[in-house]
Symmetry: C2
């Protein structure tokens, strides 16, 4: 089945309890999120493994793919649906080799050359950003909407836009030919993650 | 071939240049180190991968096993000889499943129950400590020499002692039936890592 990238939630657990965190994920899926990326930058390996198992129970229930950020060991340990690697993570070719041909492999790209290389090295999709200003990733490079358009025009694998996308600015991504919005705070920090997801999905549908 | 655990170097790269770091590893092997564990707690995945590949060139040249601390993805990516997991890392059974039956699996243990469970779950050897006070790991629990003896007496897989072992205190581990010394600073910070390794090896040989 072809992967639906239209509304892609990247998690940011912060100091939430496990139950609060899992509830947000479940509500976001009920609201229309089509893909979950579990991102844990400070957890121990065992903590990451334990939370990943619990998130997988939810994504499995709703038949939504679960992608693990960076850590291929965690992805293999819980048999996740895929892995997302940044430019400082495992090289794309090695990641593909480790997860095999059938798992989803996403790669972050900030310029056309990175996007081209990612595709050549085995990426299934690209995450391009940060499109708007974001507080989630301090190390995020800025990417203009022109660069985003150039990438979607030149590289024929699905591209999701990421970085500060929210209900106020998402419509600015019209005519970019993106396969979806990748969001963090717009859903994770929403008062109602389900409603926020529904609204983002609606904006995506009306983009082009 | 049976693994020789007698002098086991756990690395601490700190702010050394890559060449300084690799030189210490090579000199330590020339001085008698029998096993290298590459431990990187702050590196990005790609940095860890790159340094691991370079360390492997050296360990391969001298036919010394290379063990990766915690990160099974790195171990698989560079085809290391094994993995060492702590109590906050991947559960032992999952680690064994991911690396397969033939790679070396080491597990940190601080009490007899952890040692017993590690063996049951597939560990090839145990790392027990911290035996002496150490500045390398702030989270290290203290383990008495009595506990160490109890573990080596009760659990019939090789046990290495770790934690603050140096030229001044190593002789205190006599009659503990350990399979080797696991050291960090005593070699990494030595003026002459080769000579320090030779001296530690000599102390180990005269332990029992």
């Amino acid at each position: 089945m072809e992967t639906d990238y239209s509304l892609y939630l990247v998690t940011d657990r912060k100091d939430r309890t496990e139950q609060e965190f899992l509830n947000i994920i479940e509500e976001s899926i009920k609201g229309g999120v089509t893909l979950i990326q579990l991102r844990e930058k400070t957890a121990s390996t065992q903590e990451f493994y334990n939370i990943a198992r619990k998130v997988k129970e939810i994504t499995k229930k709703y038949n939504v793919p679960l992608i693990i950020n960076d850590r291929i060991d965690i992805a293999l340990a819980i048999d996740a649906d895929g892995v997302h690697v940044g430019q400082e993570d495992m090289p794309t070719q090695i990641a593909r080799k480790l997860i095999g041909p059938n798992k989803i492999l996403g790669v972050s790209a900030h310029i056309l050359e990175e996007a081209k290389k990612a595709k050549e090295d085995g990426a299934d999709y690209l995450g391009v950003g940060a499109i708007f200003t974001t507080s989630t990733k301090n190390d995020a490079n800025d990417v203009s909407i022109e660069t985003l358009k150039n990438i979607t025009k030149s590289i024929n694998i699905p591209t999701v836009a990421i970085g500060g996308i929210n209900l106020d600015n998402a419509h600015q991504l019209k005519n970019t030919k993106i396969a979806g919005f990748s969001v963090v705070s717009a859903i994770m920090n929403a008062n109602n993650p389900k409603v926020a997801s529904q609204k983002l999905k609606e904006i995506y549908k009306n983009l082009d």
